[in-house]
């Protein structure tokens, strides 16, 4: 457990000390403000809600920004480190490979949470100052952002599994994004399989907001996302354990 704790701290420090991940956070911040501004101009047109900036930002962040960032982080923490040999810095320490994999996955999840927090805070502040958001909107936004980490878990483990197959980081990013798009497109082309695909639930926070929560539906989706997460985790663990450097 201590090895995982140390690993998560190390991996998170590594991520946050890199310029591109600092810039990504600033970009998320600016994007939230831009969406708020655009919502003001569009006044409800082109799908941008004037009244609920946080939720408009959330749909964009979970649908596009986070899957791309997760692919980038997975490529850097796994494939790039394998490519430049820096992964040996931890593989040759007295730490099990399962602990190393778990630490890296948790660091990706923490960074995802950080992106969500940054976009929540920025969009909430914008909404409060410029759109006069009410208490009910704030509570709704908090709940929506909190539950949005769940559909990001199978996406994270999918990208981690892909990173085990690739030999360079750019192919990890491309294959993860391409895989995500293909699965997403399949759900559009064949709507009957859509409920079975993990990419269909990036906007599952919508189940939690509004008048009534469909508890049975929420439990079913949660079970499905959890199953995908575990399957991808098992596949990644197997491949990571077998890897030679």
């Amino acid at each position: 457990m201590k090895a995982i704790q140390a690993g998560v701290l190390n991996e998170s420090n590594k991520l946050l000390s890199r310029k591109k991940y600092q810039v990504s956070l600033i970009f998320t911040c600016l994007l939230s403000i831009a969406i708020g501004l655009l919502g003001g101009y569009a006044k409800g047109l082109v799908g941008l809600s004037l009244t609920n900036t946080p939720l408009t930002v959330l749909s964009l962040v979970t649908g596009f920004i986070l899957p791309l960032m997760i692919a980038m982080v997975s490529a850097d923490l796994f494939t790039a480190e394998q490519e430049n040999g820096s992964i040996k810095a931890v593989i040759t320490r007295p730490v099990s490979r399962s602990s190393i994999l778990t630490s890296k996955v948790l660091a990706i999840v923490l960074y995802t949470l950080l992106v969500l927090v940054v976009s929540l805070v920025t969009s909430l502040l914008y909404g409060l100052v410029f759109n006069g958001l009410g208490v009910s909107h704030i509570a709704e936004a908090l709940l929506a952002y909190a539950v949005s980490i769940v559909p990001m878990l199978p996406i994270t483990l999918f990208a981690v599994a892909v990173s085990q197959l690739c030999k360079n980081s750019s192919s990890t990013v491309m294959l993860s994004v391409f895989g995500f798009i293909v699965i997403f497109a399949a759900s559009v082309v064949f709507p009957r399989i859509s409920p079975m695909l993990f990419t269909s639930y990036t906007g599952w926070y919508k189940l939690f907001i509004g008048a009534g929560m469909p508890i049975t539906n929420i439990i079913n989706v949660m079970a499905l996302l959890l199953a995908y997460t575990l399957i991808f985790f098992a596949a990644s663990s197997w491949a990571f354990e077998k890897k030679e450097y």
Partner: protein, 241 residues
């Protein structure tokens, strides 16, 4: 016994690898693996440190099997395999702190101490990407020595270094062996380099271990390690003919 390698074999897809390697390293040894590039030194070291797996054979470090006891067998081991494993976007100090996080008893004074011993104290806050090859190699050595290991494995530690860099690395190794009694396993393709620091040597060629000897015997028999290597390789060729 610090290291016991028994009948280690591994074949890569291209047909290269190592064949039936067996040798032992005793406490206090500075054991050299001498061989040209592609002779199997790095493959052997990768298997010892768990970076790679053998097709056959067994490696034991302080009586623990690398294959079966996993990370436990590496508790007393420090290593530098191929190029130093460094995060170039972090400072030297941060690289050491990251490694220290995996050991309960390695704190800030030890990090400062090892930076001082490797001559990197004044560069501790500089990013590794600004380091010269020699500085990176010294930082790699600092990382290998950080956790006060009893056994250190160094793969071509003087690779690509100039004369001063090679001398600096040699001095650090000899100092650590003398003052802390650390056992070393060092690979190199430079006979003279190993001759100056090792008390035992194994000759490798084409994935095979041809001979092991004490440095005393080597000098007595051939005058230099280089001559000993040439004689061993030639006699191996004659036998195979």
């Amino acid at each position: 016994m610090v290291l016991k390698i028994n009948n280690l074999s591994k074949t890569y897809r291209n047909g290269r690898g190592i064949k039936a390697i067996s040798f032992q390293v005793q406490e206090g040894d500075i054991y050299g693996l001498l061989g040209p590039n592609g002779s199997g030194k790095t493959t052997t070291m990768k298997i010892i440190t768990g970076l790679s797996r053998a097709d056959e054979g067994d490696v034991q470090i302080f009586g623990l099997s690398v294959e079966n006891d996993g990370e436990k067998s590496l508790e007393q081991v420090g290593c530098l395999i191929e190029a130093p494993a460094l995060y170039e976007y972090l400072s030297a100090k941060k690289n050491l702190e990251n490694a220290a996080a995996y050991y309960a008893d390695i704190k800030a004074p030890r990090i400062e101490d090892i930076l001082k011993q490797t001559g990197l104290l004044q560069y501790q806050n500089d990013k590794v990407k600004e380091f010269s090859l020699g500085m990176k190699q010294r930082l790699g050595l600092a990382l290998a020595l950080l956790a006060n290991p009893k056994f250190v494995i160094l793969d071509e530690p003087a690779n690509g270094l100039d004369i001063e860099g090679m001398v600096a690395i040699r001095e650090i190794i000899l100092e650590q062996a003398k003052s802390k009694g650390i056992t070393f396993l060092i690979s190199s393709h430079l006979a003279h380099e190993l001759e100056l620091i090792c008390n035992k040597v194994a000759i490798m060629k084409d994935g095979c271990l041809l001979k092991t000897a004490t440095m005393e015997d080597v000098i007595e028999q051939s005058g230099t390690l280089e001559n000993y290597f040439i004689e061993t390789v030639r006699s191996g060729k004659e036998k195979s003919l």
